[in-house]
């Protein structure tokens, strides 16, 4: 019986491993099932649709067609590993796993296999130090800059001082949720606010005790690092205890339509960070509508176009596509390898000149990647939810993080990683 199974597996494996010629392969480790599907689906749709758009409108990138290979992870690290192993042989150029846990798995593996990882706004923060993490890129923003942006926003709301204020952090009790703690502790010391930590265990449906504690301690502000069903529950619980919504700020992963709509009018005024613009007010969306959705080629049912997470998936695809263009120019070949892709990412420049022709002008801040800095500037803006019109509105400009606090933390954490794994600095 076992032999039969193995034989069948071999057949299936052989079918998977058939060679692909002259295609730019972008594996998409997505999750359209499980407790995080509500958030995973729009991101995967955005990523796939933008790649489809490139094929339909431009005939691929530099004349080579793109191909998205989707693999369902269910946000589980074990399935993530299986997906990585099953797709890396197909000529994968880059991984965007959309999971901090899977990112941690892939950092050493992908570095050994010479395949770059791009984690836009998630993953391991200290990977911003390109000197140590040669194959990991986390531009344009990461959790530590996010935490700092949130605190800077609160500073500006409070006339420049948070002395004596109480801030609570409600976080997913995993690598993802724990990331900002160190930065927030450093910032609490610097600005004199007190920080209360409230972990929520996976998957986050049960948060009664955390919100009871918030009701008892009455913090001035609540920050949230949540994902999936945890976001919806937290916003509902906050509404239940009548916590003022405009004092409740989520990270960019806790600020999508799926998170606030279930709470209805009670979610009005909820704030979240973002590192790119919201809405469909950009020329690229007209193209998406024309070439992808109307042509019936949309991933999923096409209902997610223009939502926060769809835009983020699209943004991630755009950054990867631009890096491909850089790599093609650098090497003079159209069909690039993963190693060339890495160099392309490291020399990526996102400016008005790159954004305008592809219809992204004003979608996100400009930045430059270098060998030392894989993290970008870390700018973030605050958006607010309007429950009556069901729209997000940007209420601030892009805010700078406090790098004087973050940079030493990045250097310390990456130095520890380099020492643990005997990594020599790659930049000279």
């Amino acid at each position: 019986m076992k032999l039969k199974k193995l034989a069948a597996l071999a057949v299936a494996g052989a079918m998977l491993a058939s060679p692909v010629m002259a295609e730019l392969v972008f594996p998409s480790l997505s999750y359209r099932t499980g407790p995080y599907a509500a958030n995973g689906t729009p991101v995967a749709d955005g990523f796939a649709d933008y790649m489809t758009l490139l094929n339909e409108r431009d005939g691929g990138i530099g004349g080579v067609m793109t191909k998205v290979v989707e693999c369902e992870t269910g946000y589980s690290t074990e399935k993530g590993v299986e997906c990585y192993e099953s797709t890396k042989g197909l000529g994968a150029l880059i991984y965007e796993p959309l999971s901090t846990g899977i990112t941690y798995q892939l950092i050493p593996k992908a570095t050994a296999d010479d395949i770059p990882i791009l984690t836009t706004g998630y993953g391991r923060t200290s990977a911003a130090n390109g000197n140590v993490f040669s194959h990991v890129f986390n531009f344009p923003a990461n959790y530590w800059t996010g935490a700092s942006v949130a605190v800077n926003y609160l500073l500006s709301e409070n006339g420049g001082s948070l002395e004596g204020k109480k801030i609570a952090l409600v976080y997913h009790n995993s690598a993802y949720g724990k990331e900002p703690i160190r930065t927030l502790q450093a910032l609490a010391e610097k600005h004199g606010f007190s920080l209360t930590l409230l972990p929520v265990d996976h998957p986050g449906q049960e948060q009664k005790s955390q919100w009871l504690q918030i009701r008892r301690e009455r913090p001035d502000y609540v920050l949230m690092w949540g994902w999936g069903v945890m976001n919806q529950v937290a916003i509902q619980e906050a509404a239940n205890i009548h916590f003022p919504m405009d004092h409740f700020i989520g990270i960019w992963w806790s600020g999508s339509e799926n998170d606030v709509i279930p709470a209805g009018m009670a979610a009005d005024g909820y704030k979240a960070l973002t590192f790119h613009a919201v809405g469909t007010d950009f020329p690229v969306f007209a193209d998406i509508q024309k070439y992808v959705v109307d042509a019936g080629l949309a991933a999923g049912d096409g209902s997610n176009v223009g939502t926060v997470l769809y835009n983020r998936g699209m943004y991630g695809a755009m950054l990867a596509a631009e890096a491909v263009k850089v790599a093609q120019r650098m090497n003079g070949v159209a069909d690039i390898t993963a190693g060339m892709m890495r160099d392309g990412l490291e020399n990526l420049v996102i400016s008005d000149e790159t954004m305008e022709p592809i219809g992204f002008k004003g979608f996100a801040p400009n930045f430059t990647v270098s060998c030392q800095n894989h993290g970008g500037p870390g700018l973030g803006a605050v958006q607010q939810w309007h429950a009556d019109s069901k729209t997000w509105e940007m209420v601030t400009d892009f805010i700078e993080p406090d790098m004087s606090v973050i940079q030493p933390l990045i250097d310390e954490d990456s130095a520890a990683y380099a020492a643990e794994n005997n990594i020599a600095p790659q930049c000279n």
Binding site: L9, L16, E70, T77, E82, Y176, E179, E420
Partner: protein
């Protein structure tokens, strides 16, 4: 016609009580070993190792461990995930504290540490049984996961609470870390599986195993005939936890390379292993392997068929996969409540008589 004892003469006691009394079984076993040791390492690639064979081998060790406790000694445990976490974190602390220690010794020491923790959480089994014991071990599961999340010492104060395995070698081949080759990782796990399965088989058919089974079948009667329940139950907890700790250490160090406790060793892992032994067969070594294959290999196979070969949308494939696995579990339990191993036993019995069943 060929599958029978006739003509296979046993002239010593050792021959008479061997694990595979039938020649055909014996040859099949030797062939399997030869293929596993001499063929697979040369053809294995990263995908086969990381997605199929290594998880199968590691889950086999875990289900062997739980089968000793639940299948042979009758003590229901829902703490498997927590005990695997103990093995993983013990391996991590040992690897980072003693960089020169051989990885094989680290894995075995992690098992030993888990055995000690297992005995500690096994103490309530002396007073409580059945469902109540299940709840007590459930408490162990949640306590251990909380412990490894709460105290930063366990993950060396890293910012994210993730632990990641540094590179370690065995006979000059890397078996942990990112650049470890597929054959090296596979062979390392295979040797441990073979060794532990051999230990389990010989423990369960010897004096200790018989006393476990006596306690399982009726603890009062066992006590009356002179089986010491304290010693018996605690040895079962110790041996079982040792196996599970080794599985946890391998799961972390060899298979995943980086884990966080809540995600990798949550309550769902405890249930997964429990389902493995129930489907495979309680109180059966073969059943442990069959159960692990059922719940580890079958999902991968179904996924490759549906999403890979048939080209279905991946979310649909993922949902159908759950439906099929669930249906097969129910079907197995309805048709053969004693697990697939019992099905195999019945088939063997029938084969011996074939083609003259009367």
């Amino acid at each position: 016609m060929f599958y029978r004892e006739a003509g296979d003469y046993k002239t010593t006691y050792a021959e008479d009580s061997q694990t595979f009394p039938l020649k055909l079984d014996r040859y099949a076993y030797y062939t399997l070993l030869a293929v596993a040791f001499l063929v697979v390492p040369f053809v294995i690639n990263d995908y086969w190792a990381s997605a199929v064979l290594i998880p199968f081998l590691i889950w086999s060790i875990a289900s062997l461990g739980l089968n000793i406790l639940t299948g042979y000694c009758g003590q229901v445990s829902l703490g498997t995930g927590g005990f695997m976490a103990v093995g993983a974190y013990a391996a991590y602390k040992l690897m980072t504290s003693f960089p020169d220690l051989n990885i094989m010794i680290i894995v075995l020491l992690s098992g030993a540490i888990t055995a000690a923790v297992g005995v500690l959480f096994g103490l309530p089994s002396l007073r409580i049984k059945g469902f109540y014991l299940a709840v007590a071990t459930l408490a162990a599961q949640f306590f251990l996961v909380w412990l490894f999340n709460k105290f930063e010492w366990f993950y060396n104060y890293s910012a994210s609470g993730q632990i990641s395995a540094p590179t370690r070698e065995m006979f000059g081949y890397e078996v942990t870390g990112p650049s470890a080759s597929a054959p090296a990782k596979y062979m390392f796990c295979l040797v441990l599986v073979l060794g532990l399965a051999w230990v389990a088989r010989n423990l369960t058919r010897g004096r200790i195993g018989r006393s476990w089974m006596a306690i399982r079948d009726m603890d009062i009667a066992a006590e009356i005939i002179g089986v010491n329940p304290l010693k018996t139950k605690l040895t079962a907890f110790a041996v079982s936890s040792f196996f599970i700790g080794v599985a946890g250490a391998l799961f972390f160090a060899v298979y995943l390379g980086a884990v966080e406790v809540g995600e990798a060793f949550g309550i769902q892992k405890s249930f997964l292993v429990l389902f493995m032994i129930i489907i495979g067969g309680l109180g059966s070594i073969l059943g442990s392997f069959i159960g692990a294959a059922f719940l580890v290999l079958l999902p991968v196979l179904l996924k490759n068929i549906m999403a890979g070969a048939l080209g279905w949308p991946i979310d649909l494939a993922a949902h159908i996969e759950l439906v099929i696995i669930g249906f097969l579990i129910m079907l197995t339990l309805v048709l053969e409540p004693h697990g697939v191993a019992q099905l195999w036993r019945v088939a063997k019995q029938k084969l011996r008589l074939w083609p003259f069943p009367h």
